[in-house]
Subunit: 234 residues, 2 copies
């Protein structure tokens, strides 16, 4: 199966401009910017919705049924006890779950070779649950990079609280460490890919980047993360 | 990239006979047998290590670092409070985590088309985190089918127990339901694939199957599961 390069390139431009719209409104994780820009500078790669890793509280029967679950708290930096205090004060609609997720990167390549190459490298950076999830002429070789960094803790059902205010401190210590481990894997992925990419520059992206003055471009993912979380990560 | 069919077929035979060795020693999840046989009967598919979904307790700092984590309890059927009572009696080496995982199926195909076709179908059965994880001439198109059914609950660190004996009942109810949800997705996958596979029979597998008298072959995954767990699933 061949990728329809013209259609594929149109999609690349679409996702590229949407990425910067997300950035403007603060919807894009800032510590993702260095990696996303690195990937898009290669003419045969574009990225779509991705996440640098986060801690959330969701309200739902189980975390994996999206339709019945709503995010009631979200943070891309370590979380303090006070931030999740609401869990003890407000009965959930269904159940509260505390979830930590490592980074998830979605991208498309114009060739299978390039997707497999990045997959292999990503695995060495700790993105061990990665794979090609879709292939089509217009959308290209669509790949997801995922680490195993994930935990979902049932905090409270409608009838029972499964954790005390005292124990939540211990739990957050573990979850915050996991979040930071995810960020370190993102950094490692960035370093490994930076040694190899871009293979050939995308002139459209290069010229567009010149028109934007994005301070973050000179930083690595971890540098941006440490800036984001300040004292919390010391 | 072309698959080296002769080498690939040798691997198929190797994994097929290993599967039955695992079956003999009770190492193969019995409710997986109907799906694994269905896949292998297609001449262009073979399966490797897979899991029908399970609940485990591991002892480790975090569940995703395998090297530092050991499985201290494992069950492929719903779990009772008494079975995890040890958590309250014995201090963990690092931390106890209760983990529920949906089914995970690994298989290789001799063609990309077939892998993409199964991927698409698997997604409709609720295996939403599936992907092609490796491609090589000898190993073929290697694919992993995974559901999002997963939770990892920190139960106890060296210093603190995060759950009481009373609350564990509530937690197990949720985790047992999740386990059963995974088994239902396995059943759905089986039904969807059975309508389509095998596309062309593998004569080696057919003749080998005749020499084995495996009672399970006439059953669906859920039928085998209900037989395995008896009253626990009623």
């Amino acid at each position: 199966m061949r990728v329809h390069y013209e259609k594929w390139s149109l999609r690349k431009r679409h996702f590229w401009s949407r990425m910067w719209e997300d950035y403007e409104i603060g919807y894009l994780d800032r510590d993702l910017v260095p990696l996303l820009v690195l990937l898009n500078r290669d003419r045969d790669i574009y990225t779509t919705s991705s996440c640098s890793g986060r801690i959330v509280v969701v309200d739902g029967p189980v975390p994996w049924i999206r339709e019945e679950t709503s995010v009631v708290f979200k943070s891309h930096v370590p979380v303090t006890r006070l931030e999740v205090d609401f869990v003890f004060k407000k009965t959930p609609h269904r159940s509260y779950w505390l979830i930590v997720t490592g980074p998830i990167i979605h991208f498309s390549t114009a060739s299978l070779r390039k997707a497999l190459d990045i997959l292999r490298k990503a695995r060495t950076a700790g993105f061990k649950h990665s794979g090609i999830i879709h292939i089509s002429p217009a959308r290209g070789i669509f790949t997801e990079l995922v680490t195993g960094v994930y935990a979902a803790q049932l905090l409270r059902t409608q009838s029972t609280s499964l954790i005390s205010e005292l124990e939540v401190e211990e739990l957050l210590a573990t979850f915050n460490n996991a979040l930071i481990e995810g960020k370190k894997r993102l950094q490692k992925l960035y370093e490994i890919l930076r040694a190899r990419l871009p293979e050939s520059l995308d002139p459209y992206i290069e010229s567009d980047l010149k028109n934007r003055s994005i301070r973050l471009l000179e930083h690595t993912p971890l540098e941006v993360f440490y800036e984001m979380c300040g004292d919390l990560c010391k």
